[in-house]
Amino acid sequence: MASVGECPAPVPVKDKKLLEVKLGELPSWILMRDFSPSGIFGAFQRGYYRYYNKYINVKKGSISGITMVLACYVLFSYSFSYKHLNTYHLAFLTSEHERLRKYH
């Protein structure tokens, strides 16, 4: 017996948000996403405005709106230079990573 709030017609997989997609439907959901250049640009734009409207475009925005972005930037740059920091250069002056790892 259908209650008052129940939706009888099923929503197509393509239009569901990620958290509403069931696990078995995940591959078909990924394949149905728009991967054209304008689609990817639209995804970046949506992500940017989602962050912007949540943390910065508020009445009393704090400094954490920007510092979160900068912290992510630092982590991103660190991941870029990870490979280089881990190489071993000279006998008497090891890279910062080697020196910190020596004590583990």
Partner: protein
Amino acid sequence: MNENLFASFIAPTILGLPAAVLTILFPPLLIPTSKYLINNRLITTQQWLIKLTSKQMMTMHNTKGRTWSLMLVSLIIFIATTNLLGLLPHSFTPTTQLSMNLAMAIPLWAGTVIMGFRSKIKNALAHFLPQGTPTPLIPMLVIIETISLLIQPMALAVRLTANITAGHLLMHLIGSATLAMSTINLPSTLIIFTILILLTILEIAVALIQAYVFTLLVSLYLHDNT
């Protein structure tokens, strides 16, 4: 140790493609635009700063020089944000690459010179000879003034590159010196750490000052030629 020291200045690449482009495209994300009169705090502070600097910079120009105000203000914002972001750990500063600074300096300088030569050719040529020079000295002085004119873009680019690179290098060196001394002798570590803190404050100042100097010189060249 030499390669380790200069390694942070290598332009980052992803599979051979320049990721430095991404690093250059990142600062505009921190400067939003708005179509409203009353905005959030970020945009309000940025607009206040931009108004302050643009008024300070563009008062000395005439009407024709003020057509360059968009170019100069965006230049100072770009250099300042890029330099300040480069002070974060592990980040890449595009202004340490001479290629980028040359690409910024040469077109701007050439633009001012060509503008001067197109509009008021007599005035532009008159810059080559300062007033009141004794007659025998004139040929030599013209040569010297020409050389000093042609060296302006090089000086602009190399000044910015050298200042930022030297600052980053000093911070690397003193930082690794602090780390090395921490196991040996603690009081000297504190001294070196104080030096590091002072150096960081200096670097913040240098980042802003270099942006200002670059833009100021371009606007001076513009003032000479309008």
